[in-house]
């Protein structure tokens, strides 16, 4: 890690960028090293080391989210091949609990960022809209734990949800209007996002064992 001096400088820099405390950064760094096997970067395959993640139906989306350029703030589309610790922290910072000491505007901004993360998970082709196909994909993945549900049901559910979203966002549409997909603004409207993504729960680990 270089000299201790530069290390703490790095830490402070990261603290500033991502908003984590130095303890948290330490812990996350340990975790990063564990995941990457002491390499400086993580690739997609490294996520296979997380055992419980296997059982998660949206596993692929989660892993993908880590490499998504939009989340890494490196571009508007595409996937990175590997991420380093700073990128890791960037992604993790989306799950920091909202600091209630910030003022209202900042709180809103934070919420929006988190929701944007979620939006990116839905919108896999990075076109800024969640299309029907993408929505269907999501629902299928969510329901994939159950062998009995057939694709038809999943699709219908997705369709229903889409229609609902359409009606909420656009109101009564003319018969010849085409609803392209859910944009981010629509997305904000559709869900009653009272609980922000990951309010505290996800990063409680960084606070220490419970």
């Amino acid at each position: 890690m270089g000299a201790a001096h530069s290390a703490s400088e790095e830490v402070r820099e990261l603290e500033g960028k991502t908003g984590f405390s130095s303890d948290q950064i330490e812990q996350l760094h340990r975790r990063f090293k564990q995941l990457s096997g002491d390499q400086p970067t993580i690739r997609k395959e490294n996520f296979n080391n997380v055992p419980d993640l296997e059982l998660n139906p949206i596993r692929s989306k989660i892993v993908r989210a880590f490499f998504d350029n939009r989340n890494l703030r490196k571009g508007t589309s595409g996937l990175a091949d590997e991420i380093n610790f700073e990128d890791f922290l960037t992604i993790m910072s989306y799950f920091r609990p909202i600091d209630t000491t910030m003022d209202e505007e900042q709180v809103q901004l934070c919420r929006k960022e988190k929701l944007r993360f979620l939006f990116h998970m839905y919108d896999s082709d990075s076109d800024g809209r969640i299309t029907l196909e993408e929505y269907r994909n999501v629902v299928e993945e969510l329901l994939s734990g159950n062998p009995h549900i057939e694709k038809e049901s999943a699709r219908s559910i997705a369709d229903g949800a889409m229609m609902e979203a359409a009606s909420v966002c656009v109101g009564q549409m003319e018969p010849d209007q085409v609803y392209e997909g859910i944009t981010f603004d629509d997305f904000l409207k559709v869900g009653a996002w009272e609980l922000g993504v990951g309010t505290g729960a996800a990063l409680g680990a960084c606070r220490g064992p419970c």
């Binding site: 419980d52 009995h148 549900i149 009564q172 606070r207 419970c210």
Partner: protein, 797 residues
């Protein structure tokens, strides 16, 4: 509901009548014989005639004295059981009030009867009976049924809350009451600090599990359950330890002689007693687990070993003045895991039921004692003391809940919301424990014991009835506000997605401190403990039970992954390019949401279900059994109906379709894991193995159970063109769930690899045919054979 409401009163009425008659009869007998009993000696039965020289041999005599104690005890227990039956016959009652209400009422009734008939009440509960006989079963039961994984995951919080909460409550209430006693107007000046502290410690013993049943349907999360459990579990132990220490203090010299050294010693003793007890419990747990490893040939004594060792741990701990309660709890928790794997199925069931039974009996007896002492002459009523006791109980509980949880929330991954805390606060219902401790106060040291007993009784009655009955609505009220939000499918989806996301991120950033500890323990467990404590191999003769187990496992998995309800789900108009804006009808939304909630991958937090007074089979087990039974039945029926294929015509009464698998070629000594050997089954009660549970049924719906398969209109099957696939695709992996034509077909998971394939037909009584193993082989019928599906079914090979 007329008849329903009517029924419970019948058993109540006649049993009450019966009991009253008995008691009256008994008491009159007793009165008659009481006079002469004074003059009698022990072996009086035969010498009875000597006191009044009788000329004749009496043909018919009654000797009530001889059987009084067991007779009355049995009668009480029966009465309570009958009351419970009545209680549960009424569907609504168990959800309205906790069962302790009922027991208290029964106790009060018995007390009233005894008082009314001026009966000399039977042996009053005394210290040794309570601590040696009545308390251990209760504690054992709660320790045994504690779900271990969540317990250990939350161990820190639980210890913090239960331990500190009890202490805080005890001292808080004690001190406040002492201050009240100082007020001369109340006439309580002679109760010193120590006595108040003691009273505080005994009144702080809560029994919150009793109320769990009341709000079970409300979606109470796992953490909350664990908190309540943990509290109930440890609370008794801590109260008793405190109680004993304070009694020791009281017995010591006067109050003024107690020095700080003594207090420190008391604290140290507290810790030692607690930890030492737990330590002994663990040791005994391991010993008993070890012994059960060798009991495969005499499985009848397995329950005995379990019970005796637990009891022994209790006694040994008591001998050493350690906490027997914590010992027995630790013993139960430790040995449960290993014992369950070692003992046979029947022993396992026996243990569970016997434990429940014992603890039920104990608790009933305690409540009866309570009822008896309620209605009696030994009360002392002091308005100030009692009212303030009530008030302080509530206040201190609130304080301890909110303060302690505020602190522990800082360290928790899943903080408890205010609503959770309110629920915990409100579920502070006192129970049998407090009463017993109050009752056993030595009169010599506590001249105002009656006051304490009265106060305890008031608190118990108040909390059990008023809090117990209102906690249900309260929780539902709190909960309803939570769940009203999700009205749209989108929200449901998004919430679920976020849950999964959170879970995923947790895994990634690792609650790895937890993992490490848990992993390490698991590794240690596997490497050493299990080798020592678990039996080596399953006996060969239990092949059938093995199949039973495996089939059950599979069925349980099916159930857990959620079989769809049978509500016809009419697919809404498919939206091409989402042009149409036809609103979904509410029913569609409902059914969609139903499907979603029921079938989405269960996020890890699952609600527990625990009923203190009753052993409920795990719902999944129940459903699994249902599935199995139905499969067999329907299959048998379809076979009986002339060997036609189930889909040829509607399969009899039940509309569940099962596909039958063709006979496999009997392989000679087939060691091929995938293929089973079949012997010829003759006759119509041959059990052709049910293989696939094809989740379709014709238009009829089966409303009996929630899990009946989903409707997929029949015509789709035929419309697909190909005859029904037998359930296996050629290249099926385990995840492949779509059969031909896009029908979802369940494949049994290949669980049977390890099984030996000697499938001679078992005795007729064994219903799970070993031939089930044949279901595995998809390779048996490589897909192309589908076209010849019909014939092999009937052919014997």
């Amino acid at each position: 509901m007329g008849i329903r409401g009517f029924v419970p009163f019948c058993p109540w009425n006649w049993c009450l009548l019966l009991a009253t008659l008995q008691c009256c009869g008994a008491s009159s007998e007793l009165n008659r014989s009481t006079d002469s009993s004074a003059r009698r000696e022990l072996n009086v039965r035969y010498a009875a005639a000597s006191s009044q020289p009788a000329e004749t041999i009496s043909v018919f005599t009654l000797d009530y004295d001889y059987v009084q104690i067991p007779y009355e005890v049995t009668l009480w227990i029966l009465l309570a059981s009958l009351a419970k039956i009545g209680f549960h016959l009424n569907r609504r009652l168990p959800g309205l009030m906790p069962e302790s209400c009922l027991l208290i009422l029964v106790g009060a009734l018995v007390g009233a009867v005894i008082f009314g008939t001026d009966h000399k009440s039977p042996p009053v509960m005394d210290s040794s009976i309570y601590f040696l006989y009545l308390l251990p079963p209760i504690v054992l039961e709660s320790g045994y049924f504690m779900p271990t994984r969540p317990f250990f995951e939350n161990l820190g919080s639980i210890l913090w809350w239960a331990g500190l909460g009890a202490l805080l409550n005890a001292f808080g209430i004690g001190l406040s009451l002492y201050l009240i006693c100082q007020v001369p107007a109340f006439g309580l000046g002679d109760i010193n600090l120590l006595q108040n502290l003691l009273f505080g410690s005994l009144i702080s013993a809560v029994d919150p599990v009793a109320v769990l049943a009341v709000f079970e349907e409300a979606r109470v999360n796992e953490q909350l359950y664990m908190m309540i459990f943990g509290e109930a579990l440890l609370n008794d132990g801590i109260s008793v330890v405190l109680y004993n220490i304070l009694i020791a203090f009281t017995k010591m010299h006067k109050f003024e002689d107690i020095e700080p050294v003594d207090i420190l010693a008391g604290c140290a003793r507290f810790v030692i007693v607690g930890c030492g007890g737990a330590f002994f419990g663990v040791i005994f747990g391991f010993i008993s687990a070890f012994i059960t490893r060798f009991t495969q040939n005499i499985s009848a004594i397995e329950p005995l070993i379990v019970f005796m060792f637990s009891y022994l741990s209790y006694l040994v701990a008591e001998t050493l003045y350690l906490s027997g309660i914590l010992a027995i709890t630790a013993c139960a928790v430790t040995m449960k895991k290993y014992v369950e794997e070692n003992v046979s199925q029947t022993s396992y069931t026996t243990i569970k039921y016997f434990m429940k039974m014992l603890s039920s009996v104990s608790e009933t007896l305690i409540f009866i004692f309570m009822g008896v002492s309620t209605i009696g002459k030994n009360h002392e009523w002091n308005w100030a003391f009692i009212c303030f006791t009530l008030v302080f109980c509530q206040i201190w509980r609130a304080i301890s809940v909110f303060v302690l949880f505020y602190v522990s929330n800082q360290f928790r991954t899943f903080p408890f919301s205010i609503k959770d805390q309110c629920v915990i606060f409100y579920s502070g219902v006192r129970g049998a424990g407090s009463f017993s401790l109050a009752f056993l106060l030595p009169l010599s040291l506590f001249p105002r014991k009656k006051l304490f007993v009265t106060a305890t009784l008031v608190v118990i009655y108040f909390t059990v009835f008023i809090q117990g009955i209102t906690v249900g609505p309260l929780v539902r009220y709190l909960d309803v506000r939570k769940t009203n939000k999700k009205e749209s499918i989108n929200e449901e989806l998004h919430t679920r997605l976020m849950d999964h996301l959170k879970a995923g991120i947790e895994d990634v950033c690792g609650q790895w401190s937890h993992y490490q500890v848990r992993d390490k323990f698991k590794k240690f467990d596997h490497k050493y403990l299990r080798k020592v404590l678990i039996r080596k191999n399953l006996p060969k003769s239990s092949l059938v039970s093995l199949y039973k187990k495996l089939e059950m496992k599979q069925a349980i998995e099916m159930v857990e992954s959620g079989v769809l309800s049978s509500t016809a789900f009419s697919t809404p108009r498919r939206v091409q390019k989402t042009q149409e804006t036809k609103r979904l009808s509410p029913e569609d939304v409902e059914s969609m949401r139903d499907i979603l909630t029921r079938n989405m991958y269960q996020v890890r937090q699952r609600t527990l279900s625990y009923n203190k007074y009753n052993l409920q089979p795990q719902t999944s087990e129940k459903q699994a059994k249902e599935i199995l039974i139905r499969r067999r039945n329907t299959f048998r029926e379809s076979v009986k109906k002339g060997h036609s294929l189930p889909w040829g015509k509607p399969a009899g009464t039940k509309n569940i379709r099962y596909l039958s698998f063709p006979y496999s070629k009997p392989l000679p000594a087939g060691r091929d894991m995938k293929v089973a050997e079949f012997t010829d089954h003759d006759g119509s009660d041959s059990e052709l193995p049910p293989i696939t549970f094809n989740t379709h049924s014709p238009t009829g719906t089966i409303q009996e159970r929630r899990w009946t398969p989903e409707v997929i209109p029949m015509k789709r099957l035929h419309g697909a063109g190909t005859p029904l696939h037998f359930g296996y695709r050629r290249n099926a992996g385990r995840e492949e769930h779509l059969g031909r034509g896009g029908r979802a077909i369940l494949r049994p998971k290949p669980l049977f690899h390890a099984v030996d394939e000697e499938f001679e037909s078992e005795e007729e009584s064994k219903e799970e045919t070993p031939a089930f193993g044949s279901l595995l082989s998809s390779e048996l019928r490589p897909g192309g054979d589908c076209n010849v599906s019909h014939s092999p079914l009937l052919q014997r090979k």
